[in-house]
């Protein structure tokens, strides 16, 4: 199971807890007409972290954003995500619906975050 979770995380291209949280925010809110600042306020991250993660998720072709208008954009999960990646994402979402699944994910992502993300977040 652990291997499978890791495979799915790798398949989606997620390595940080902040990436997972922000990806899930965008997934759950469908089309969000908002700004990085507001997402940060709603999920309790620093604005700069959210901004960086949104950029990364867009580069990784996990989300899409519209042109900006007065500081806001439409953020959506990328509709044209490839099937394998979409399958992995659905598995992870399904896993995160239970507490034990969320713990597994958090543990995995936290480890990765501790290894490579701390400095990035702190900087």
């Amino acid at each position: 199971m652990e291997l499978s979770v890791q495979n799915c995380l790798d398949g989606v291209g997620i390595s940080l807890l902040s990436e997972w949280d922000i990806l899930m925010f965008v997934y759950r809110h469908g089309a969000s007409l908002t700004s990085a600042d507001r997402i940060a306020r709603l999920i309790g991250y620093e604005s700069r972290v959210v901004s960086d993660v949104l950029d990364r998720l867009e580069r990784e072709k996990l989300i899409e954003r519209s042109r900006p208008s007065q500081g806001v954009c439409f953020y959506r999960i990328l509709a044209s995500m490839d099937a394998g990646r979409w399958y992995c994402l659905r598995l992870l979402i399904s896993l995160s619906e239970s507490r034990s699944g969320r713990l597994q994910l958090a543990e995995r992502l936290k480890t990765l975050w501790s290894d490579s993300g701390r400095e990035q977040q702190a900087s």
């Binding site: 809110h29 089309a31 007409l33 208008s69 007065q70």
Partner: protein
């Protein structure tokens, strides 16, 4: 107003209350307390617009998680996800500030999306959140008013018919917000959620709607899993003159029940209303069953029996014991039985079900058994009276011959036809079924007290309930050991008195009497 000028909500029952729909581009405000169904009404307005009228729409939410909105909608069978994929629907999660800024912006992403989709409807859930300043000063409300005006202007410019939801509260600022929004909106729909005893009743009232007429007053609203909202027009509303049906007829129909046909010579008028009054156990239900069965067999009329007391299976079984076989008529649909439990009875939806059955099956003869259970179930005398008046008016409009059974609480003799509900004057015919005590036994009697436009008998006649139902005891038959029923006077005044003249037989006055 032409059909095209109206936007149909598509919500069951609502468009008929709105007399067809709401004028296009009217700004619609749906207000109510928490849990009154505002978000659901707005979501269904958008969903029905897409599904039934091919009018794409937007839902803008500030607080509700779109995920949950989609999940909740799925419980009503609405696949919002699919509609989003088809680009007919877009649910947008944003903040009030962004929304307000977007509507004023010339390069608004939201309006661009609306335009790309060809959206014709927009639902904004929680317009009160635009008034975020906690200060209750006049200037703040002026600002909110201006904001709302700008918002309405922007939506009108885009030819979007907008529906806003507004949560009502008791705080001063909430009341002021509501007053401002009410004033600016063209159509205001108020949703209610009130406790009646231990149950909750939902209601819908149109407070105003510019540019159109509508059915005023408080209507019942129900939320049904797997379907959505349903609005039931309040029963007390006067019937709209939709058709030019006559409300009276000169045609008489033989009822087919000897007891009635004998006492009302030549039958009763089609479309007349009859109240059958009597104590419990005197035979009202049997008479009702017989009226429907005889009508079906001899007159080929389609009948409806409505009961709040007995389940159809029990009605059929009891009738069977008297040789009145209803099974065949029920099976072939010539007689229908509507049973609803008096507990939790919602009178508006019950009335709507009756109307639906009558119209779907072209019912010509109806028996309501009985009115006393309605009195208990409804509780409010005003609503009970409205139901009865509506039922009478509807029966007359359709020329449907209707019988109402009313259980009089007085056991022997009566001092009033309908003690808790003096409405006997609005029916055309009044039949009393009484119990009288002679010697040490009870006898059943029938009297016709009133029959408008008919030369009816004022004789009180004894009847029996046996195989075949109710039958009159022949006048010449002397069932009582010494004297027949006709040998007594004051039968209905709780003091039957035997005539002293021994030669008065069968109620006839003899030559000897005259002398």
């Amino acid at each position: 107003m032409s059909e095209d000028a109206l936007i149909k909500t598509g919500i069951k029952g609502l468009d008929s209350i709105l007399l067809g729909g709401i004028p296009r581009t009217n700004v619609i405000l749906v207000q109510g307390v928490t849990g009154s169904g505002k978000t659901l009404l707005g979501s269904e307005f958008i969903f029905r617009g897409i599904a039934q009228h091919n009018e794409p729409g937007l839902i803008v939410v500030f607080e509700t998680n779109p995920d949950k909105l989609i999940r909740d909608a799925a419980g009503f069978g609405w696949n919002l996800d699919e509609l989003q994929q088809q680009k007919k629907l877009q649910i947008i999660f944003t903040s009030p500030q962004v929304f307000e800024q977007e509507l004023r912006s010339p390069d608004s992403l939201l309006l661009e999306t609306a335009s790309e989709m060809g959206a014709q409807r927009i639902f904004v859930d929680g317009v009160g959140l635009l008034n975020t300043n906690p200060d209750d000063s006049i200037s703040v409300h002026r600002t909110y008013r201006e904001l709302l005006q700008q918002l309405i202007e922007s939506l009108n410019r885009e030819n979007l018919t907008a529906m806003f939801s507004l949560e009502l509260g008791n705080a001063r600022d909430s009341i002021a917000t509501a007053e401002t929004t009410d004033f600016l909106a063209d159509t205001v729909i108020q949703l209610g959620r009130e406790r009646h005893g231990r149950r909750i009743q939902r209601s819908l009232e149109i407070l105003k709607s510019r540019g159109q007429d509508y059915e005023a007053g408080e209507h019942t609203m129900q939320i049904t899993g797997g379907r959505g909202l349903e609005i039931f027009r309040r029963v007390q509303a006067p019937l709209l003159a939709k058709s030019k049906q006559p409300t009276s007829s000169t045609m008489r129909s033989v009822i087919g029940v000897e007891a009635i046909d004998t006492l009302i010579g030549g039958g009763i008028f089609d479309g007349s209303t009859t109240m059958v009054v009597g104590v419990s156990g005197v035979g009202k239900t049997v008479l009702g069953t017989q009226i429907l069965r005889e009508g079906s067999l001899k007159q080929k009329t389609r009948g409806l029996l409505i009961s709040l007391d007995e389940h159809p299976a029990q009605i059929i079984r009891n009738a069977q014991t008297l040789g009145l076989n209803l099974e065949e008529q029920v099976a072939d649909g010539t007689i229908r039985i509507l049973f609803e439990s008096p507990q939790e009875l919602d009178i508006d939806s019950h009335y709507a079900r009756i109307v639906h059955l009558v119209e779907e099956h072209d019912i010509q003869r109806m028996v309501i058994d009985g009115m006393t259970s309605y009195s208990t179930a409804i509780g409010e005398i005003g609503v009970y009276r409205d139901f009865f008046h509506a039922m009478v008016a509807y029966s007359k409009q359709r020329l449907m011959t209707t019988f109402f059974n009313y259980e009089n609480p007085e056991f022997l003799g009566i001092s009033s036809y309908m003690p808790d509900f003096p409405l006997s004057s609005i029916v055309d015919n009044l039949i009393l079924l009484s119990l009288v005590e002679i010697n040490n036994s009870l006898h059943r009697c029938i009297s016709v007290v009133k029959s408008r436009g008919s030369k009816h008998s004022f004789d009180t006649r004894e009847f029996l309930i046996g195989q075949g139902g109710i039958s009159l005891v022949p006048l010449e038959q002397n069932r009582v050991p010494a004297l027949s029923l006709q040998s007594y006077s004051s039968l209905l005044s709780r003091a039957p008195t035997r005539f002293s003249l021994p030669n008065r037989i069968n109620g006839a006055v003899t030559e000897q009497d005259k002398e």
